[in-house]
């Protein structure tokens, strides 16, 4: 069993890739001040026009499901199965992220998805590592 004397923590998978604003989680990307393109994950140099003048940008919480799969054989440190998907955001950014529920029924290309933050894995110290996931937008939601 885990060492229960130490309280386990909830930690982000990586600092700065998602943030809370007005009580909601947002993916944080980059916007290039020159060509105005959005990029995710965040970058220091715009790979389209090679300028360094970029700023932080909160991305849309919703996007369209492009393709998905279920990983049954995971890399080290992960527990299978889990779903992964490409989600296209209105900012013309394709996000590669986990699915909140790999068993989700009725997934269809083009369907509206929304961002949630949830458990990605548990690390060796027993901390819960959280990160971006997508789930279908509830009917009428």
């Amino acid at each position: 069993m885990d060492d229960t004397s130490k309280p386990h923590k909830t930690l982000p998978i990586k600092e700065g890739i998602f943030k809370i604003k007005d009580g909601q989680y947002f993916l944080v990307g980059t916007r290039c001040k020159s060509c105005r393109r959005h990029l995710y994950p965040p970058v220091e140099i715009c790979p389209f026009c090679f300028v360094r003048d970029v700023e932080e940008a909160y991305l849309s919480r919703r996007g369209k499901l492009q393709a998905w799969t279920v990983v049954w054989v995971p890399p080290a440190g992960f527990e299978a199965p889990y779903g992964v998907a490409y989600v296209d955001l209105p900012e013309k950014v394709r996000v590669f992220a986990h699915l909140a529920d790999y068993k989700a029924d009725g997934l269809k290309p083009g369907m509206e998805m929304e961002l949630v933050i949830g458990k990605i894995k548990v690390d060796r110290e027993g901390n819960e590592i959280i990160g971006p996931k997508f789930r279908p937008v509830a009917n009428g939601g």
Binding site: F78, V84, F96
Partner: protein, 363 residues
């Protein structure tokens, strides 16, 4: 291409990487009838074998003091080494060089290129079969490609592999067996993934005006070579763009290709590459396999060697092993799996990190 040689793919826990490589190198030198002492430079491709494997290999062949280059470019390492060697010979820097591709693979899923600490790796997204599974799902939705069509790629390549003495697996499977094997990433099953294999392949490249000093075999030339990486905002997919560069350099097109060795690490890959290499229109890759046109007896045989599916995919070896197959085919030496009267052979490798290589050979 003066000579080629391989070490059979398989699992060799008792052998070192350079021991495998030396066998392939000696086979290629013998095939070319080139003495090691005449080799003026060596290119060793390998991905995760540690520092200066090329030096370790050449130490076993004999310390002749020549320049040795170690080449890493993911799955395209071998193809990249061939290309670099070709340019050095083509530009008259050397008359005779040796290319050696080798790898001893670890166990488990093939990871992507994501660097340590990178977001994809942290999220467990650096899984090669998952990336191909996403492409498979996209292709199924868009064009109606079926699981059976993908499984047929595995069936064909395993059948071809039975005829190749260097391939790791010499066992045939049915479509049902392929589909019933363990699920790796939906819809890709275990028998649609290349196995983890160790192996080595080598090629001797000579300038045209010296090759007759060594042997009188059918001359096989490099007519086109292309190496491309991902490009932001590109309308074309990576393989199409790379193939276009290689076709232009060779002055040839998809219709001229007699056989192709393509990167079938996962079955959907081969179907996508049919389309990107121009063997059929976009969306019709599934039909091409259904019609049997990519069989050894078809009009555009793909992976007569058994491909990565059956030969195996020791990363640093693959691009060089593809060249071995093309040379054997163009010389008419591919016993049991010989394509009828081929004139032009194409090799294609695609790797993690977004790299693609296409080389075209003629006789």
């Amino acid at each position: 291409m003066a000579g080629v040689g391989m070490h059979k793919c398989g699992r060799y826990p008792e052998k070192t990487c350079s021991e495998l490589a030396v066998v392939a190198a000696v086979n290629a030198l013998d095939d070319a009838n080139v003495p090691w002492g005449d080799v003026q430079a060596a290119y060793a491709s390998h991905v995760a074998q540690g520092v200066s494997v090329g030096e370790a290999i050449c130490e076993k062949l004999g310390l002749t003091g020549i320049p040795i280059l170690n080449v890493e470019n993911a799955c395209a390492s071998g193809s990249t080494a061939v290309r670099e060697a070709f340019y050095a010979v083509g530009h008259g820097v050397y008359d005779v060089v040796l290319v050696i591709g080798v790898e001893k693979m670890g166990r488990g899923v093939l990871g992507g290129a994501g660097e340590e600490g990178g977001l994809e790796r942290l999220l467990g997204l650096n899984v090669m079969p998952a990336l191909y599974a996403l492409k498979a799902n996209e292709h199924m939705h868009k064009y109606g490609t079926t699981k059976e069509q993908m499984a047929k790629v595995s069936v064909k390549n395993h059948k071809n592999g039975c005829l190749n003495p260097y391939s790791h697996f010499q066992k045939e499977f049915t479509v049902e067996e392929v589909l019933a094997s363990r699920m790796i990433c939906d819809p890709i099953t275990l028998l649609q993934c290349c196995p983890t294999s160790d192996g080595a392949a080598a090629a001797v490249i000579c300038a045209e005006d010296v090759v007759r000093k060594y042997n009188y075999k059918t001359k096989v030339f490099i007519a086109g070579t292309a190496l491309q990486t991902e490009k932001y905002g590109s309308e074309q997919d990576l393989t199409s763009r790379t193939a276009q560069v290689a076709y232009e350099m060779a002055g040839l097109g998809p219709k001229d290709i007699s056989l192709a060795e393509v990167h079938d690490a996962f079955t959907i890959g081969e179907i996508l590459h049919y389309e990107s290499l121009g063997f059929c229109p976009r969306g019709e890759g599934g039909r091409l396999i259904d019609e049997g046109r990519t069989e050894i007896s078809g009009d555009i045989p793909v992976n007569p060697s058994g491909g990565l599916q059956s030969r195996g995919h020791p990363l640093g070896m693959t691009g060089v092993a593809q060249v071995c197959e093309v040379v054997w085919q163009l010389r008419g030496e591919a016993q049991g799996r010989q394509v009828k009267d081929p004139r032009v052979g194409l090799t294609h490798t695609q790797g993690a990190g977004g790299v693609c290589s296409v080389n075209i050979f003629v006789r």
